[in-house]
């Protein structure tokens, strides 16, 4: 059933390509239908997994031979971590469609690229054959490029090309690692479950782990390879920045965890400290840069770098609580970043046509767009990590894990959270609650539309629900990190390292 999340997205894309160009309304409905059905399949998959968890935590969906002579398999499967992220993809995809309801320029092509990107993302999260995972990972590159280059705004061609090349550099590094691992493993397959049994020599792990980890983590915004993220997010149209920050950055973190860390535990042990320091720099640096931005979208873009730093820091703790916090943070940040970008890109920028905080300060948007202001206040609170929202549970777990693994880093990461409060309050104050005298002849702004309200409510409800009842997701995530779990158990088993 879960495989239909992938097929429906690509099927939707194919239908859209064949649709006549003058039917924008039909294009929107097809996109909404495909993403809603994808979400439905994701939810049913999650419920099915929760009610009847498989004994070894891995739910096989499809497994057929693809190319015998290389040992390639079409192997789709899921465990709690992939299901968490599939669910995230489903939610953000629906919200993104709702926030793109006003795309009038080449509508059907927009949604065709959009669905292709989503299909690729679902595919990555559900592949347990690493060749297949890589195929989906690369399929996601090109739609991103066109979504930004055609429908983007500020310096769109630059941002799109930078994003595409950074992604491609990362995937080239991953491919070198995959090919080398294939040769060294000698299992004549790319099956993750086969590879995890192979005791790779330490000397091999020491160089191949950083290669693959960084290759994936480029997409997760690992400092100093994060620079594609702010420019890409800013240039992208709203739905694309929601997907970029919400889901695509998670592809990188997911790949780093699922492939690099799982296969090469000895490599992780060697590189744990350097990578944790990079993650920490990302947290503090991203927050500091966000503090001084004039462009509203850049504030959110850099905040993504900062929050993804928590994911990477959590991964490097190599403790159950830190690792599960990292996965939870992936989910939480995906929802919150999606929401923030929706407010900035769709609700504010599409109406005021400026993202300059000083210009916005004069508009008193809290009066003109009370719904946008309210959404941003709540989303900002969630992003700051206030209790009751998903961000709190996630970042708290990461900090606890970090405290156990490397206490001084945890303190610095805490500083990052405080700066986070500062930049969000500053942006919020300037963008919505400017106290300048109102200009007399301000043109009235369009009211917030129903699709926007629905999308915002969907995302808000999710972050609150996870904040109040994180156990729902933790029940999925934690078994995957149990020391006896066949895949990720190796990370928490301790002795192996």
């Amino acid at each position: 059933m879960l495989a239909w999340t992938i097929y429906l997205s690509f099927f939707g894309m194919a239908v859209l390509m064949l649709l006549p160009a003058d039917r924008p309304r039909a294009a929107r409905m097809i996109a909404l239908g495909a993403t809603l059905a994808g979400l439905a399949f994701a939810v049913s998959g999650v419920l099915q997994y929760r009610n009847h968890p498989p004994a070894d935590t891995i739910l096989t969906i499809t497994q057929v031979t693809w190319l015998r002579s290389l040992g390639l398999q079409y192997f789709l499967a899921a465990d709690g971590i992939s299901l968490t992220l599939v669910l995230l993809t489903g939610i953000v995809a629906v919200a993104g469609t709702l926030f793109s309801w006003n795309v009038e320029h080449r509508t059907k092509e927009f949604f065709a690229f959009y669905l292709a990107l989503i299909g690729g993302v679902y595919g990555v999260f559900l592949s347990f054959d690493l060749f297949l995972l890589f195929v989906f990972y690369e399929i996601a590159i090109i739609p991103k490029y066109f979504l930004i280059a055609i429908w983007g705004s500020t310096r769109k061609e630059y941002g799109a090309m930078k994003l595409a090349l950074y992604s491609f550099i990362g995937s080239a590094m991953v491919l070198v690692g995959l090919i080398a691992t294939y040769v060294v493993a000698g299992t004549h397959s790319f099956n993750l479950l086969d590879w995890v049994q192979v005791p790779f020599p330490r000397s091999f792990q020491v160089w191949v782990f950083p290669l693959m980890f960084v290759g994936f983590a480029i997409l997760a915004g690992l400092w100093p390879f994060h620079t594609w993220a702010p420019t890409g997010h800013v240039a992208a149209p709203t739905a694309a920045s929601m997907l970029l920050a919400g889901v695509v950055m998670k592809l990188g973190a997911y790949g780093a965890l699922r492939v690099a860390m799982t296969l090469f535990p000895m490599g992780v042990a060697v590189w744990q400290d350097p990578i944790a320091i990079l993650a920490l720099i990302g947290i503090v640096y991203g927050a500091l840069v966000a503090l001084v931005q004039q462009d509203f979208k850049f504030v959110i873009g850099y905040s993504s770098v900062s929050h993804m730093g928590f994911v990477l820091l959590g991964l490097m703790t190599l403790q159950t609580v830190g690792l599960s916090g990292a996965v939870l943070q992936m989910f939480s940040h995906g929802i919150i970043a999606g929401l923030l970008f929706a407010v900035v890109g769709r609700m504010v920028y599409d109406r005021t046509h400026t993202r300059d905080l000083n210009a916005l300060e004069e508009m008193r948007l809290s009066k003109a767009l009370p719904f946008a202001a309210g959404t941003f206040v709540v989303a900002g609170a969630a992003s700051m990590g206030l209790p009751g929202f998903s961000g709190f549970v996630a970042e708290l777990q990461v900090l606890i894990g970090a405290w156990q693994a490397f206490p001084s880093y945890a303190v610095l990461a805490g500083v990052g959270i405080i700066i986070g409060v500062a930049y969000l309050l500053r942006a919020q104050q300037k963008a919505f609650f400017g106290d300048m005298p109102e200009k007399p002849a301000e043109p009235a702004l369009d009211p917030i539309t129903i699709p926007e309200r629905l999308g915002a409510l969907l995302l808000l409800a999710t972050t609150v629900a996870v904040g109040l009842y994180p156990q729902f997701l933790l029940d999925l995530i934690l078994p995957a990190f149990h020391p006896n779990a066949p895949l990720m158990g190796v990370l928490t088993r301790g002795g192996v390292l």
């Binding site: 390509m17 160009a21 693809w66 190319l67 015998r68 002579s69 290389l70 092509e109 060749f131 890589f134 195929v135 690369e138 399929i139 590159i141 090109i142 490029y145 066109f146 280059a149 055609i150 061609e157 799109a160 090309m161 595409a164 090349l165 491609f168 550099i169 080239a172 491919l175 070198v176 090919i179 080398a180 294939y182 040769v183 060294v184």
Partner: protein, 498 residues
């Protein structure tokens, strides 16, 4: 003296015979019956005749009796050669169909007859295992291609390109012949298998190494590997676009196949080693030099291009660089990977040149600007271009991705010392990042930039559009289900000796 059984020979060479007759029929039919018709009509009839003949040859090539595998004759006929001939014949058919769009010459019959002759040369090239036969078929191919390049008489560029092609081709043929003469001097043999037998214990003979380098120079020219690539940009640019399509596709397939035959069969035992920190003299390190230069130079020079045919030429040089590591692996996996790569690459190139041919015919230019807003002016054509370029860039789910993956995996698992050629794979992947940049530049022009005011809608002929869509689907299909071709190649390779 053993007598030659001409009837048996004719039966074995039925596909080649059919194609020769087809060429003659096309020539005379066009000169006789069709003389008074309009040019498009004559093109249609000639293309139809050529395609029908080629299809007949393909059909015939499937029925043959296997010759004695131990024979040391001039030609071999085995499942692999027949498969490669089929590939080349299909490429010729596609080229003929793409030619319908272009109106560059009134000499329709001669043009299509030359296409047949060039194809004939390539087919013989695939079958040759003898230095003499190899050289003769190479010359047949090359001479036909020189003329095909010069065919656009009203364009100075075309003649210039042909002259350059001819002169450089002549020099390279001289190198090849000179190298062959040394090999003959060393061994007293012209048959590749027997040469390999003679050379087995003299692999590091300096005379052999010199001869080998000279032969590789000659063949390196054929596959447009740097530093013997100088003709390629000018020829691709100057030649009529359909001729360039054949040079970039069929001729490339034959060139790589004969290079593989020459090195794997004829120079077996003289491989040397291309492992990082472990180089040993032989043909592998020579090819390593060609590969490094081709990838680097081809990709970096492609960035600066502003005309699509030149871009494709530099990308062809780069692709020659990507393919060589498969040959350097000198094992079955490498050979399958090479043949899969060159086949899918050739299909992609015919398609890409087909798109260029349409745009060039209707806008008069192949500059990037001519492609501005293509997705609005002809959505189907733009999607085809997208498929071909992304396949060339090596992105899934297109064939180019799987081809690269296969070649790189073969190269990395080549040597007994594990990860032997991984250094080349790393360079190749780094360079393919560069390649994505320039392909995206062109795609951006076609998709992201709005068409200029007053830009015409582009309407390809139905036959051409059908061919291009078919090719795009084929590129997608072979990328998603590579076993369709890989299993065929594997089965053929097991039976035949290469």
């Amino acid at each position: 003296m053993n007598t030659v059984n001409y009837l048996g020979l004719l039966r074995l060479l039925a596909p080649e015979t059919v194609l020769t007759i087809t060429g003659l029929i096309v020539l005379f039919f066009d000169a006789g019956v069709m003389r008074r018709q309009s040019i498009p009509r004559r093109q249609q009839v000639a293309a139809f005749l050529l395609s029908a003949g080629a299809m007949l040859a393909i059909g015939w090539s499937r029925h043959y009796s296997l010759a004695d595998p131990n024979s040391t004759s001039m030609l071999v006929i085995d499942p692999l050669t027949q498969l490669m001939k089929q590939v080349i014949l299909f490429l010729t058919i596609f080229t003929a169909l793409v030619s319908l769009e272009s109106k560059f010459t009134p000499h329709v019959g001669e043009y299509f007859a030359l296409l047949a002759l060039a194809t004939l040369g390539m087919m013989f090239l695939v079958s040759s295992v003898d230095l003499l036969m190899l050289f003769v078929s190479l010359e047949l191919t090359s001479l036909s291609l020189y003329i095909l390049t010069a065919f656009q008489k009203d364009k100075l560029e075309s003649s210039e390109a042909a002259l350059k092609y001819f002169l450089l081709g002549g020099v390279s043929a001289a190198f090849l012949l000179f190298g062959m003469s040394w090999v003959y001097g060393l061994t007293g043999e012209t048959n590749l298998i027997r040469i390999a037998g003679q050379l087995r214990d003299r692999a590091t003979d300096p005379v052999l190494l010199a001869a080998m380098v000279m032969m590789l120079i000659g063949l390196g020219f054929k596959i447009a590997a740097a530093p013997f690539h100088l003709w390629a940009p000018d020829v691709y640019q100057g030649a009529p676009t359909p001729s360039a399509a054949l040079i970039a596709s069929g001729s490339k397939v034959a060139g790589f196949f004969v290079l593989a035959r020459m090195t794997l069969a004829g120079l077996a035992g003289a491989e040397g080693s291309g492992v990082w920190n472990g180089f040993a003299p032989g043909w592998v390190p020579v090819l390593a030099v060609l590969a490094v230069l081709s990838m680097t130079l081809g990709n970096l020079a492609a960035i600066a291009q502003t005309r699509v045919k030149r871009l494709l030429a530099y990308s062809a040089i780069a692709h020659a660089g990507y393919m060589l590591p498969a040959l350097m692996a000198h094992n079955t996996m490498g050979t399958i990977a090479l043949l899969y790569y060159v086949t899918t690459y050739a299909l992609t190139m015919v398609g890409a040149f087909g798109v260029v041919a349409v745009v060039e015919q209707q806008t008069g230019s192949d500059a990037y600007d001519a492609f501005t807003g293509l997705s609005r002016r002809s959505p189907a054509l733009a999607v085809c271009l997208l498929v071909f370029l992304l396949s060339l860039a090596g992105l899934p789910p297109f064939a180019g991705f799987f081809a690269k993956f296969y070649v790189f995996t073969a190269a990395a698992s080549a040597s007994t010392r594990s990860l032997g050629l991984l250094w080349l794979v790393i360079l190749a992947l780094a360079m393919s990042v560069v390649s994505l940049y320039y392909y995206l530049q062109l795609l951006k022009q076609a998709f992201a930039v709005d068409p200029p005011a007053g830009a015409k809608i582009i309407r390809p002929l139905p036959a051409t559009l059908f061919t291009l869509v078919f090719l795009a689907l084929l590129v997608l299909l072979l990328g998603a289900l590579p076993h369709l071709l890989v299993n065929k190649l594997q089965a053929a390779l097991v039976v035949s000796g290469l």
